[in-house]
Symmetry: C2
Subunit: 268 residues, 2 copies
Amino acid sequence: MASFNKYRAGGSFRLADIKPGATPFKEGSRSEQLAQLDALALQLDVLQNLLHAEGSRKLLLVLQGMDTSGKDGTIRWVFSRTSPLGVRVAAFKAPSLDELAHDYLWRCHAVVPRSGEIMVWNRSHYEDVLVTAVEGWIDKKELQRRYAQINDFERLLSETGTVIVKCMLHISKDVQRARLQERIDTPGKHWKFALGDLDARKKWDDYQNAYEKALGATSTRHAPWYVIPSDSKTHRNLMVARLLIKTLQDMKLKEPPADPGLKGLIVE
Amino acid sequence: MASFNKYRAGGSFRLADIKPGATPFKEGSRSEQLAQLDALALQLDVLQNLLHAEGSRKLLLVLQGMDTSGKDGTIRWVFSRTSPLGVRVAAFKAPSLDELAHDYLWRCHAVVPRSGEIMVWNRSHYEDVLVTAVEGWIDKKELQRRYAQINDFERLLSETGTVIVKCMLHISKDVQRARLQERIDTPGKHWKFALGDLDARKKWDDYQNAYEKALGATSTRHAPWYVIPSDSKTHRNLMVARLLIKTLQDMKLKEPPADPGLKGLIVE
């Protein structure tokens, strides 16, 4: 199995060095891969239960990626065996008027994970250093200030018991074209398509550039970014599942100790 | 298969008429039952996707029951195949100071389902007509007023697109004894046990009475209560899953229509 380190963003990191079509965490036949994914999802359920039992720490998974990169699909498959009791999803869309009336981290802070919980952010505060940068809504100085604010915010979460994993689902421009075209050509999928998706696609290189800068500036020890080669959906799911399992294993979760006061207690 | 109507609470309904040990929705061998449950969970996933695609209506499942009646287990198994993208759980515990500073429906209204979503309430506003009544914190007049307020609140939700299903997980006092004792006798389960659970158990008959009254007063056409015989965990899961599926089928969910404007569009 490959090492996650190679896919971890750092200061001098170049997004173009990671091929969206790579499949380093995919092995065996198609049916073996699906069986592996199911086994990983079940393993994640066991670890989530332990996180819940321990009841003190939290896990935050941030998912970012271009349209059709598979954020919804990743959530569906990686968490196909966990209970909604322990896994929550917050989806960040274009901010509402009320959200715009606050700082950009306000709506995120409102939905950080609770003790014992896994929280998944489907898009995140990173939209505020991606789309805003590409569209020129903020200047370079403000962008740098936001990187620092984000690092500070994530350090707060980390220092108060939240383990943070951030994944960029990395697809090629060709794969996006095929996936958007499929949505257009399938009447039953029209509701998943918005014409605005094509506008962002026209700025593909600007977005890749904005991602590279943002990931480089905010991949920290306490909140690392991983680039997930995602042209293959199965590879994407397997890699995210394995990364989460490794993260939870590294937390060395423990069941709370038995309560000696309950010994011999009889229920009447 | 049995009819749900027999388990639906109504005005003259008597809780004692429904045996917690009954298994009207369980058929076949143990392995057949588990296969059925998995098939139902997958069917629920398909229906949930359709609810999401339709994007206008909502489903609210309210779960109530005595300690160890299996609210968590029901959520785990009934939603074992649905994505956390479309199913959310809100757990209501003893109210916080901030919650107590508001009316008792405030914290519930904050977490009603969004369009296209299934929301599960693990306990609910019904605690405010159960524990409060048993402990004598509110008098009969206030209790009647709350029943009416709850019916009004649920009518609002119903009239604005939320389909409501309420389930009381009905167990016998003996089964609760065995389940509490098991938690006590299993050191690894001590974290699930609170000595306060025994206090509520001492008031078993008062709680049964409070449930009977509350269910009778608030089982409406737009928000019916069902009593789920739950001594058998498998029966409980099968019955709740079937009830939800029937509810979603009765909604006659439809995929949104295709967008004729997308015909022939080519992604570049």
